[in-house]
Amino acid sequence: MIISEKLLDGYDLSLVIPISQFGILLASADYIALGDPFQWSLLIGILIVCLGSFVLSISAANEHLSIRMFSELRHVPGKLWALVLGEALCFTTSAVVSYLGIKETAHPDAIMNSLKRLHLGPIAFHSAFFFNIGQQLFSVIIFAIYILSRKKYRTLMFLPLITSTKYLAWAALAYILAEYTYFIAFTITHETSILRALDNLSIPHYTYLFLLLP
């Protein structure tokens, strides 16, 4: 929460978002460490996916897709790199927890049963969509506690939604659509390895996008 706040308030998002895409590389390294089958071709594939996400994100702030937009990276301050690295580590932890939670092996089963006995709250394993519903509720609760603990946001939190209805409606709709289609894509794919699924689902379109670069 603290890292997110500093990134959102202190820096231009058109720089933060593209750099943050590389957090998926750390997550991929963790998937391999946790036993996902490793191949160099898969790692190169993930690198292409990251570059593709980078190009798409940075192009949102520019009028044209161009090699020149990469030059902005030279002026990125060290503190921003540190914050983005922190954000990437948090993302990696979250991705690894999700990865362990949706695998149907004895380990997640044991964790799930232990958590259910502790009556800690909404947890459903084995399905990406249902796991995310539980994860989302925890996220909302932690978010609410953080915002209520900050005087700066406390008063704003209870302002009527009318002041930012336009942004909220578009942002919520876009985010729900993005997340839902992502889960559906992973549900219908036949790949059992997460790295292979990421590769197969993403690379064809990114290679087309690279053709647009002058």
């Binding site: 997110s4 978002i17 949102a60 709250g121 909404p122 946001y153 930012s164 992973f186």
Partner: protein, 84 residues
């Protein structure tokens, strides 16, 4: 089909990033988006099971699967689905 869904997901996520960038209170917007996403997912889940699959036990499963009961001991609550 699955690659098209991923492409659609990335495009909508990019659109979301643009909206977030233009918002005056970004953290507050993130919180509200999280809240509405959670509610949206619960709605999708209930819509899929109750309306599309005509399975009236969706609410019961949401409560028991997600909270207080062991995933494998659902059969103890079989009488609830029989009564519907």
């Amino acid at each position: 089909m699955d690659t098209n869904l991923i492409l659609f997901s990335i495009v909508t996520l990019s659109f979301y990033n643009v909206v977030l960038k233009r918002s005056p209170h970004k953290l507050l917007l993130l919180f509200r988006v999280s809240l509405f996403t959670y509610l949206g997912f619960v709605f999708i889940c209930l819509f899929q099971t109750i309306v599309l699959q005509h399975d009236l036990s969706a609410l019961r499963e949401l409560i028991f699967n997600y909270t207080f009961e062991d995933y494998h001991s659902m059969s103890r609550f079989h009488f609830l689905s029989l009564s519907q």
